[in-house]
Symmetry: C2
């Protein structure tokens, strides 16, 4: 398998390593993945996160281990154990189905298994590049760009979705400045996106979520780029809580608002936003914060809390959808 | 002096005590104030906060101590020391000017000094009641009401400004439910407003600031009530960062948006919002949180931060101003 280094994974011909995302942004610790048990432990401990990244890092680690597996039976047993580490992750299922089929079809040819895993990796990198280039075409020199949550190389094998647009615009010397919503309650913006922008030396400022409107009023924000978790047939889409408020604020200030996602995010079984269920998460996430940095609660234990993980933004508030390598003004699947 | 008990102060005829706001919401600790040094220490340690509350608690503690002061000279020396504990607090200056004048005019009659301090206290309680009653007239039975920051009995001698409206509506059995913005970065909503609502048994839910728009889309919010730090001649007003975003979201969802403040907040020297300077606060407040509950940083030390303390909302986005006991559709001073 060819060598590679991304924001969150690297392979030097001998060792396959992932970055421990639980320790970011304070410590950059690379964890060696030598066996199926290693990647299972990393997935369960959230050292690796983000649906595309989980699927691809699991595929790569199994493929590299295949030469030590002994026989097809042991390999498939291990693969099924890895699949069970996160039963709800669709990318993990899909990628491991492909790896399993190749293992069977090729008569357990480890070179062909590794070639497929690398192809899955390369496809994701290329897809992120396509989104980045298409999106960067919408960015003007000197733009202030606001983004929300984490949509970069810590969630994908490549540069990510919305963040790929920002990284590509920076590489094209568009002289952008990124406003990073901290993204309460889990702080993916302030903790992970800020770290990725710092690593890539993209000029940026972290702001609290409730400051976004004020910087729009001040004329500091020219574009907004966000990712999507699920896009309905009519273009309504679900994304991290706070996205909908940004879309409304953008509409009021006449700021273009773009959604960046791979075509796999489009759900043709879902007619519109009403068909997207919104998961409610734990109260403790809103009462305080918790991470490798410690755990703190500041709100009264007795106060009720509401903690929707996502919100749904109607397509009318979206200026354009960057899907794979193309920009669409509206969607009708 | 008559006995009294408020959310943040109490006097039983012998002891004057204030609640230690630094320890809220986890511990309800009453601190005895027996000397000018005690109130200076409490103000400096932020045990007592909120401009009106600082002014009135300082006046009460000095007035009660006047009988032990010995003579006018010692009393005025102590009063000047208290004044210096927070040189920028206008209410503190104004209240202590009145107390000092009364001490001189009355020939250091401690009964008259105490009567004046109690009058200042009673005037603030009455003013809060007036705002509460006028605002409650705007509330319908069953309303979901969103509020931001802390505007209650922890900042004033009475029930506060916007929070007074919510408490009065609850007392009138209007069956309201309050959505409490946690109010990053300093968390006055999640920490203090939630605690006050819990104490008063008003049904409520704490939400992160970026969830407000989603609950408006879901039809859960019928009214928004906020306080104000400064109101310009044309009705533009400054308030805690995040207020402006709420006003825009309210406009989009056609939700009435009300500002509640005493007439002392009106600044007739300020023509419009452009004349209100916005103070930038410390980066560390956005990189993490800090309080009696501990200190945590989750954002990269190297990432730049923006931390405006306030924002300015144009009067066009305000449905009504509740000023003292009256509701105004617009302001022109």
């Amino acid at each position: 398998m060819k060598n590679f280094t991304t924001m969150s994974m690297r392979y030097d011909g001998h060792k396959f390593e992932i970055i421990d995302q639980q320790m970011l942004p304070d410590k950059k610790i690379w964890v060696s993945i030598e066996s199926p048990q290693d990647i299972i432990a990393a997935i369960k401990a959230l050292k690796v996160r983000g649906a595309p990244l989980i699927g691809i890092s699991a595929s790569l680690s199994l493929a590299l281990w295949s030469s030590k597996a002994g026989d097809l039976e042991s390999f498939i047993t291990a693969l099924e154990q890895v699949r069970e580490s996160r039963p709800t992750a669709v990318n993990l299922m899909n990628n491991l189905d492909l790896i399993k089929a190749e293992a069977v079809k090729s008569g357990f040819n480890t070179e062909r298994i590794q070639a497929l895993a690398f192809q899955l990796f390369q496809d994701d990198v290329d897809l992120c590049k396509k989104m980045g280039r298409a999106g960067a075409g919408l960015v003007d020199v000197g733009d202030g760009i606001l983004t929300h949550c984490n949509t970069g190389g810590l969630a994908t094998a490549g540069d990510g979705t919305a963040l790929s647009v920002l990284l590509e615009s920076h590489r094209q010397d568009k002289n952008i400045h990124v406003y990073v919503d901290e993204t309460r309650p889990l702080l993916q913006g302030g903790r992970l996106t800020a770290w990725e922008l710092l690593e890539a030396q993209v000029p940026h400022s972290i702001i609290c979520d409730n400051m976004a409107g004020w910087f729009m009023q001040l004329g500091k924000v020219q574009k907004i780029f966000v990712g999507a978790d699920r896009i309905a047939k009519n273009g309504d889409f679900a994304n991290k809580i706070g996205t909908y408020s940004l879309a409304v604020l953008a509409d009021f200030h006449k700021i273009p608002f773009y959604v960046v996602a791979p075509s796999t995010t489009l759900d043709s079984n879902c007619i519109d936003g009403k068909g997207i269920p919104v998961e409610m998460r734990k109260d403790s996430e809103v009462r305080g914060v918790k991470g490798h940095f410690g755990e703190i609660r500041w709100a009264p234990e007795g106060s009720p809390v509401l903690n929707p993980a996502f919100d749904v933004t109607p397509s009318q508030l979206v200026t354009g959808f960057v899907i794979d390598g193309e920009v669409h003004k509206s969607l009708s699947l």
